[in-house]
Symmetry: C2
Subunit: 282 residues, 2 copies
């Protein structure tokens, strides 16, 4: 479908996307753009990319440019790309926040060649080595402000994501950011905070190592996530994240009050209410 | 090894243990004891047990009695069993708290026939249908106050657990309960509270359903756990759980303060500290 595709960033998301583009026959040649020489080398070695180039040179050669870098860097980089493309090139991003980016480029004369997307897949690992085959499959992908993108551009991107096995969801950027705070960002904050709790209080690391079972592993695994990626997400979505975080502290305080007052009935009630999550999460 | 084994409780842990005992040739005949007729029937249908009997009758026929019921019920039931056994029978429990039980039976004349254990395996599901093959493997099993149990009893129990692929850890009951608060109980509380947070604030359930990815799933799955099992655990271990919960709220407030004050550097620092969990959790 595309002769030359550029991925900006050569990490977990972009690297996995590059593998999938090749596997599904969407790209003949993949160019990688990275801030560091090491990442470029690693991505070449791993076969994620065919060539590493500086951004400006990569843009000139590419039919499609896919940006998957920390969300604070995404804004100036996407602007820079839009400044340089022509009317046939397509640009998309994979960022975990959408409002700030969409606002920042809303009046750009090339906005119509851009598609704002958020494929809701990831792992706690990062860098080129974290890229995997079979990523994205079975997960949702949000597309924002579809109406601001040219039809040919949107259709190509939709075709790629659905071919990767993703379920498309359309939302306004502000709605996306609210929902993302609930179903993704707060999980990461609780996981980071839980890791800090245990590291702070549990001085016997051997005991953690010996005893930590599946429950701990699953609630804490997100605490391994890359701060360089997640700090900008929390900052850009800070109002929504604060809103959910405040509510979460309120909910934890209810458990605390039950234990302090030995209110067994209310404790069970809180847990029975939480069980309702079964309805929506299988 | 045993002709007749009784499992008290026919749920996730006892049912999985019964399957394993049969699979590994440790038991010829398994008797199930349950409070409800439905669970007994279900356990018989699923082949977890060969026979369902009232506790008193089951004790008389059994070489080994394994108790895996909510920790509040465990105390009177274990006392009742110890009142009825002879010097060759063996009793063990699988409870998630150890201090209250060990204290309650410390002066019982048959304490030496009892082995206090906590196999650190579980899932968020409960009941006979939740029992699975290949449970326990690769996880730790804590044995408390080994010195208070007869050598023949401890050795048999150790042999069973190690044959199931568990790694044995020896601890005093109070140390067990402290560590369990960190590596298991707090994870369940945060998960229950996170489910309540999302259910309280996110009125659009379709959005959760559409968007919830792997991160949300893994931090919230423990919120499906059975309140009848977990409320007594939190209550019996309330001082340790409160201690960890207070620290967790402090840690969450640090994230909150960073966002409120837009202190990006400290936010990254908190997350980098949390990343240290990689050292002890692979």
């Amino acid at each position: 479908m595309f002769n030359n595709v550029t991925i900006v960033g050569v990490g977990l998301i972009s690297g996995s996307f590059a593998i999938a583009l090749k596997d599904k026959g969407f790209a003949k040649h993949i160019i990688g753009v990275s801030r560091t020489r090491e990442s470029e080398q690693k991505a070449l070695e791993l076969g994620l990319i065919d060539e590493a180039l500086p951004l400006n040179e990569a843009i000139k050669k590419s039919d499609f440019i896919y940006v998957a870098i920390p969300v604070d860097a995404t804004i100036p980089v996407v602007k820079d790309i839009l400044d340089q493309i022509n009317e046939t090139q397509i640009v998309a991003d994979a960022g975990s926040t959408k409002q700030a980016l969409c606002n920042a480029i809303q009046n750009h004369p090339m906005r119509h060649r851009f598609v704002a997307t958020h494929p809701m897949w990831g792992t706690e690992y990062s860098g080129p080595e974290a890229a995997t085959r079979q990523a994205f499959t079975g997960r949702s992908c949000v597309i924002c402000e579809k109406q601001l993108s040219d039809i040919d551009a949107v259709q190509k991107i939709e075709h790629i994501y659905t071919t990767l096995g993703m379920h498309l969801v359309y939302m306004q950027p502000d709605a996306h950011d609210v929902h993302a705070a609930y179903v993704s960002h707060i999980s990461h904050i609780t996981s980071f905070a839980l890791a800090n709790t245990v590291l702070e209080k549990e001085k016997e690391e051997d005991a953690i190592f010996d005893l930590a079972g599946g429950g701990f592993e699953s609630t804490v695994r997100l605490a391994k996530s890359n701060p360089a990626m997640w700090a900008p997400i929390f900052m850009q979505n800070r109002e929504n994240v604060l809103d959910v975080l405040n509510e979460h502290i309120v909910q934890l305080r209810k458990f605390k009050a039950c234990l302090e007052k030995e209110n067994y009935d209310y404790l069970k009630e809180l847990m029975e209410n939480a069980n309702k999550i079964k309805r929506i999460l299988h």
